[in-house]
């Protein structure tokens, strides 16, 4: 028997979700869009509570109260700099809910489970379980509870591939023997393990791909839940989430010059480090804060290229102060954002927005590159690989072919860096030795503060 009023609320919720995501095409319409999505969620929840045969209410109330308390506490107190961790953690929560609903379905319907239902349940718990532990690992690495550098050991690929095939084998077996409790729970256990092993060899700089991928998997788990409990709004919301994570993964992997299959199977890993070339002592040009101020004063157009180093140094507010000082003097300041700068998609944008940088100053790589030769000064703050011209010129470089921000084409480049250490990928950066590159060593925030102070003097 179809419950029409319930289905109507679900249809309305689905439409509102799509309208909500559509709003995100522009910062102006984004907040209204989110209000649509919130109304959609409210409709779906109220509809479910009224339209289903709810027998006991106490656990529902407890869950909603506790969940709301934790959720709002996280939303209020979480600093913006902890956003990558929060996103990773929330993927784990979403996937956990999917796994538990799947297990419940298995327990309740045990005797009447068909092969078709097991197909849906299997996908649900597989994707769900590996997303739970995978996201927790990502969280641990971002929070630095776990070493964020790649953890590798001999035979790692072999172990992972074997585990993967055993799990798939169990899934296939379950489709033909849907009542086998032992295999069902073992499969979930193995999926939890796979999630851990998948993220173990992945380093901090590859996190944007991992987080996008987990976003996609969490969505797929939700969609599979919809199949299992025959709920259309879950399928729609899950596949929206799934395709969103999928697109972000494609964008991220393109921006890192990795093949998509490489990303799809999570085998991100570390690139081979090539330390042979370029390591000779070559002259670099060091400058101090006064020189930097002098160069900036003479310029009409300045482009700032932020990287993870800016986030680590918490320098976004000071960057904005510098930008204000320059704009006061009639200099045009823009920010060039590489898609994989930072630890998650859009990381730099959020930090700069928090520091009150106007969003029309935040430009994508493709927008800024064609006009780079008209830029007077490019300031690189805590970024390295994303501005490495070897990606364009050196066929032997591990990052060859990766799209970069062409700061070397600007008239002058000021690189703010702690030391001459190589970036995450361990690749030498020829940019630092270019004649138009000036190195300004020190902690990004401190150097920027001194620079702003220097401007205030005059």
């Amino acid at each position: 028997m179809v419950n029409y009023s319930l289905e109507i609320t679900y249809i309305a919720a689905s439409v509102l979700f799509i309208m909500g995501l559509k709003g995100l095409s522009h910062p102006e319409s984004a907040r209204r869009g989110m209000h649509y999505a919130e109304v959609g969620m409210l409709l779906a929840v109220v509809g479910t509570l009224l339209g289903n045969n709810i027998i006991t209410w106490e656990w529902i109330v407890v869950g909603i109260v506790v969940g709301s308390a934790i959720g709002s506490a996280m939303a209020i107190f979480m600093p913006m700099t902890a956003m990558p961790q929060r996103i990773a953690l929330s993927h784990a929560f979403g996937a956990l809910a999917a796994v538990l609903v799947g297990i419940n379905e298995f327990v309740v319907k045990h005797e009447e489970i068909t092969s078709g239902l097991m197909g849906a349940l299997g996908f649900e718990v597989l994707f769900g379980a590996l997303t739970v532990t995978g996201s927790l690992m990502a969280f641990g690495k971002l929070q630095e509870l776990v070493k964020s550098a790649p953890i590798t050991y001999k035979g790692q690929n072999f172990v992972n591939i074997t585990l993967f095939f055993i799990t798939i084998g169990m899934f296939v077996y379950l489709i033909f023997n849907p009542h086998d409790t032992v295999v069902f729970y073992s499969m979930i256990g193995l999926s939890f393990l796979i999630g851990i092993f998948l993220v173990l060899p992945i380093g901090g700089a590859d996190m944007p791909v991992v987080i996008s991928l987990m976003n996609s998997y969490a969505g797929l788990a939700a969609a599979a839940t919809g199949f299992a409990i025959d709920n259309k709004v879950l399928i729609i919301a899950g596949s929206l989430d799934g395709s969103s994570g999928f697109i972000l993964s494609i964008i991220m992997s393109k921006a890192m010059n990795r093949s998509f299959t490489n990303v799809l199977f999570g085998a991100v890993g570390t690139p081979q480090v090539d330390t042979s070339t370029l390591h000779q002592e070559r002259p670099i040009t060091k400058i101090g804060v006064e020189d930097a101020k002098f160069i900036l004063e003479q310029s009409d157009r300045v482009v700032v290229v932020p990287g993870y180093g800016m986030a680590v140094a918490q320098a976004q507010h000071t960057v904005r102060e510098l930008s204000d000082e320059l704009e006061k003097r009639g200099t045009k300041v823009e920010f060039a954002i590489h898609p994989v700068a930072g630890r998650m998609p859009g990381h730099m944008n959020v930090l700069l927005a928090e520091a009150d940088v106007s969003y029309d100053q935040l430009l994508e790589m493709e927008m800024i590159n064609p006009t780079m030769d008209t830029v007077d000064v490019a300031i690189v703050i805590g970024a390295n690989d994303v501005v490495n011209p070897a990606a364009r010129t050196d066929k032997g470089s591990p990052i060859y072919g990766m799209p970069i921000i062409d700061v070397d084409k600007a008239k002058t480049v000021i690189v703010m860096k702690r030391s001459m250490a190589t970036g995450f990928a361990g690749i030498e950066n020829p940019l630092f030795y270019e004649s138009n590159t000036k190195m300004l060593f020190g902690d990004a925030k401190k150097v920027l503060q001194e620079l702003v102070a220097e401007f205030n003097k005059s």
């Binding site: 289903n52 656990w59 959720g71 939303a75 839940t225 929206l240 395709s243």
Partner: protein
């Protein structure tokens, strides 16, 4: 098997809609996009509620944890998305 076929239609079509909509999301808002889709996928709350509200103890307990986890995502996800979106402002600047 009719509901299954129907569901597959829905999955594929919703996937296409998602693809077209998300493709147009400005890269500036990619982080809010992730937290928004996260909140939306908290819709598994719908399944969790039914489990928590049943008359079987095992379902109630599984449902309780699931409702808690999904509610964290829904409430926290939407809230923090709002918090982020509020920061994206266009400032009037001379130049």
């Amino acid at each position: 098997m009719f509901p299954l076929i129907e569901s597959i239609y829905i999955l594929i079509l919703a996937g296409f809609v998602g693809f077209e909509v998300i493709r147009r999301v400005t890269p500036t808002l990619h982080t809010p996009l992730m937290s928004a889709t996260n909140a939306i996928s908290g819709i598994s709350l719908v399944g969790s509620l039914v489990a928590a509200g049943s008359d079987q103890f095992v379902s109630q307990m599984l449902g309780l944890v699931a409702v808690t986890a999904a509610t964290i995502n829904v409430v926290g996800g939407f809230w923090i998305t709002e918090r982020m979106l509020k920061m994206f402002k266009r400032k009037e600047r001379k130049s």
